[in-house]
Amino acid sequence: MTIFRSLGDTHELVDSFTRPVRTVLPVSRLRDDPDGEPNRWQSIVDLGWLGISVPEEAGGIGLSALEEVLAAQDFGRQLISTNYPATVIAAHAFHKAGDSDTVGALLTGEARAAFALHGHAQGVGRAIDADGATHLVAMTREGVEIRANGTLEIDDDVHWGRPVLRTAVEEPLLFDASRDTAVRGRLLIAALLAGIAAECCERGVEYAKVREQFGQPIGAFQAVKHHCANMAIMAHAAKELTTFAALSFTEGHAEAEREADAALNLALRAARENAGTNIQVHGGMGFSAECDAHLYLKAARLLDAACGGLSESRRRLMQHK
C-alpha cells in the first residue's frame, strides 16, 4: 500500500521556525567559544525546538514526527547539542508515563537530558555532554531507559569535541519499552546525521571550488570531483530515506519501524563517510583544529554512540527482514 503526499506546505511550516538556526547555532561556537555555553540551551528552549512533536496539552507545539525530522535535518547541519535529541526523547517517555511535571520541566529548560552510553560496568557509566543535565537517556535494545544524572567527573576522554563524563549509575526512573518512543528517537538521530552528511557535502564542495592547486580549483580534478559526487549521493539518500521513514511513522504504517532502522543505518554511514571525505577534501587544513571539518566527524560519532551504533542498527534490520 502506498500513499502519495506533497510536502510543500510542510517544508514551509518547518522553515518558518528553523529559520534562525544558523544565527543561533553557528558551528564556529564549538571552536571559538569552548568556555562559553556552546549548547546555547536557553535559545533552543526559547525557540520551542524541544517541543515540536510534543502534544499541545503537554506544552509542546503538537506537530508530527515528520515536521520534527525535517527540522532536525537543519539542526544537524549546525551540530546542535546531543542534549537536544536526548531531551526530546525523554519528554516523550515522560509524557507516555503521565508525568506532565517532568515534561514541562524539560520543555522549559529546568530539566535537561543527556545521552548515557552503553556498556557501563561496576556502577560507573559514561554520558555525553551531561554537565548541566538532570537526566540521562540510554537507548537500549529493550527500550528507552531514563535515570537521574549522577555525573561524577569529566573523563580523560577529550577526543570527541564535547565532554564525555563518568557517571554513577543511578536507579532507573523510567523504562519506556514502547516502539513509539524508540522509533521516534532513532528517526530523530537519523535526521541529525542526515543533516551532518548534507552539510559536509556542501562544505567540501564549496572548498573544492575555491582552493586552487596546479593552477586550477581542486574540484576540477576528477579525483576530488568524484569524492564530492559520492558525498552528494550519500547526503541525498540519507535525506530522502529519513524523510520517507518519518512520513511512514507519522502515517502509522506497519513497516515504519523497519523504515526507521533503515534510515538510521544509512544516515550513520552517510554522516561518517561524508565527514571523513570532507576532511580529506580540505587536505592539511582539514586535519587542523582551526578548520570545522573535524567537528562534523566527532558529532557524527557521538550520535552513533548514543543510539547503539551501526552494528546495532544492522542487527535490528536483519531481525525484521
Binding site: M1, T2, I3, F4, R5, S6, L7, G8, H11, V205, A208, K209, G215, Q216, P217, G219, A220, F221, Q222, K225, H226, C228, A229, N230, A232, I233, H236, A237, A238, E240, L241, T243, F244, A245, L247, S248, E251, G252, H253, A254, E255, R258, E259, D261, A262, A263, N265, L266, R269, S311, S313, R314, R315, L317, M318, K321
Partner: protein, 382 residues
C-alpha cells in the same frame, strides 16, 4: 518535494492495485524469458501485446497515443505489483521503444511519426534498438562520426555503431548521425528513425561476458532514409532531441528496474542465515530502502515539474547497488547452488550487473556529471 510511502492507500489506488495483482497472477507467462535471439523477440512482443490488450501498457503515456494518461502513482503501484509477481524483467528488448524512443517521439516527433510508431511500440508490434555509441565514441558520445549525407529529400548513411542492444531482432533504431559536414561536438548531429531491414545494414551480434549475445555492432553502407519520415526534432538538432527525454529516462523509465532491485534485495535478506554475511545484507536493505525513497520522490517530482538534477545521483546509486547486491548473492548461495543457475539466476545477474556501471555513461562519467551539473564544480583543463 512529494514523497510516497506505504500506508493507508485511498480506495481508488487500492482498487487499481487489486486489479493489477489479479491481472498479473492470471497472465504472467508460464516460462521465463529467453535472453537473446529470435525467441526473445517473440517472447517480448507477445508479452507486450498481452499487457497492451489488458490495458497495462503505457500507463503514463498520453491516451491519444494508446496510453492511459494515468498519474505516476499508478505507475509506481503497477511496478510494485509487477516485481512482486515476478513478471518478466523490463530490461528486455522492449525497453528502448517503451522508455526511450517512444518518449522521444512523443516529445519531438511529427504527427505522422507519432501516429505510426507510438501505437506499434505500445501494442508489441515493433522492437527498437539504440544506435548512439561508436567504436571511437563511447563515453565521449559527442565525438560521433557516423555520416549522414543529405541528398535531396534523402539522407545517405555510412558508418558504424556498437553496443546496440537487440539490434539483431529490432525493427527500428533510434540513430544519431552527423549530418552537417565538418561539424564538431554537439552541433550538426541528427536523430533519425532507421528501419533495420533497409539494404546496406549489417548487424553482428557480440557475445557478452554474461553469456547472451544481446548487443551488436551495426554497419551502414549507403543506407538511404527519407528525411520527412526519419528525422525527429529537426535536421542538425539531434543532440537536443536526444537530451529531450533524459529527464524521463531518469525518472519513470528506471522505476521498474529500481523497484525490482529492492524486491530482490529483500529476498536475499530473507534467505540469509550466515551471521558473517548479515551485516552486508543489512546495509543492502537500508540502501534498497533509500533507493525506493529517492526514486519515488523523484518520479513524483518529475510529474509536477521539471525533474531535478538528482536523477543522475539515483541512476548511479542504482547501478552500484545492483552490483553489490549480486556480489552478495554469490557469496550467500555459493557457486553450484540452484539459486545461481539458469537464464535468470544470480550467476547471470552477477555477471550482467557489470554492465550497469558502464552502459549509458560509465560510473566515472556519471560522477563527472554529478560534480559539474549538480554541484557546480569546474570542468578540468583539457
Amino acid at each position: 518535494m512529494t514523497i510516497a510511502t506505504d500506508s493507508n492507500e485511498d480506495d481508488a489506488l487500492a482498487a487499481f492495485r487489486a486489479g493489477a495483482r489479479a491481472w498479473l497472477e492470471a497472465n504472467i507467462p508460464d516460462h521465463a524469458a529467453p535472453l537473446d535471439g529470435p525467441e526473445s523477440r517473440r517472447y517480448v512482443l507477445d508479452w507486450q501485446r498481452k499487457m497492451y490488450d489488458g490495458g497495462w501498457a503505457g500507463l503514463t503515456w498520453p491516451s491519444e497515443f494508446g496510453g492511459r494518461s494515468l498519474p505516476v502513482a499508478q505507475q509506481i503501484i503497477w511496478f510494485e505489483e509487477y516485481a512482486r509477481a515476478g513478471a518478466p524483467s523490463t530490461h528486455n528488448a522492449s525497453f528502448v521503444g517503451v522508455n526511450h524512443a517512444g518518449p522521444t517521439i512523443i516529445a519531438c516527433g511529427s504527427d505522422a511519426q507519432k501516429a505510426f510508431h507510438l501505437p506499434r511500440i505500445l501494442s508489441g508490434e515493433a522492437i527498437w534498438c539504440q544506435g548512439f555509441s561508436e567504436p571511437g565514441s563511447g563515453s565521449d558520445l559527442a565525438s560521433l562520426r557516423t555520416q549522414g549525407r543529405v541528398e535531396g529529400d534523402e539522407i545517405i548513411i555510412d558508418g558504424q555503431k556498437i553496443w546496440s542492444s537487440y539490434a539483431d531482432i529490432a525493427d527500428y533504431q533510434e540513430l544519431l548521425i552527423r549530418t552537417e559536414p565538418g561539424s564538431e561536438r554537439h552541433r550538426g548531429i541528427t536523430w533519425v528513425i532507421c528501419p533495420m531491414n533497409l539494404p546496406g545494414i549489417t548487424v553482428r551480434p557480440i557475445e557478452t561476458m554474461a553469456g547472451p549475445a544481446k548487443f551488436c555492432e551495426v554497419f551502414y553502407d549507403q543506407v538511404r532514409l527519407p528525411i520527412d519520415q526519419a528525422v525527429v526534432g529537426g535536421l542538425n538538432n539531434g543532440w537536443k532531441t536526444a537530451m529531450a527525454t533524459l529527464g524521463f529516462e531518469r525518472g519513470t523509465a528506471s522505476l521498474a528496474l529500481q523497484i525490482g532491485l529492492v524486491d530482490k534485495i529483500e529476498r536475499l535478506a530473507r534467505d540469509c542465515t550466515d551471521p558473517m554475511l548479515a551485516p552486508r545484507l543489512a546495509d543492502l536493505l537500508a540502501d534498497a530502502a533509500a533507493l525506493r525513497a529517492m526514486s519515488y520522490s523523484f518520479a513524483l517530482a518529475s510529474e509536477t515539474g521539471t525533474p531535478g538534477s538528482e536523477g543522475s545521483l539515483i541512476r548511479l546509486y542504482f547501478a552500484e547497488l545492483a552490483k553489490r547486491a549480486s556480489d552478495a548473492a554469490i557469496d550467500l548461495y555459493g557457486i553450484g547452488s540452484p539459486a545461481l543457475a539458469g537464464d535468470h539466476g544470480w550467476a547471470f545477474e552477477y555477471l550482467d550487473a557489470f554492465s550497469e556501471t558502464i552502459a549509458g555513461g560509465t560510473a566515472e562519467i556519471q560522477r563527472n556529471i554529478i560534480g559539474e551539473r549538480v554541484l557546480g564544480l569546474p570542468r578540468g583543463k583539457s
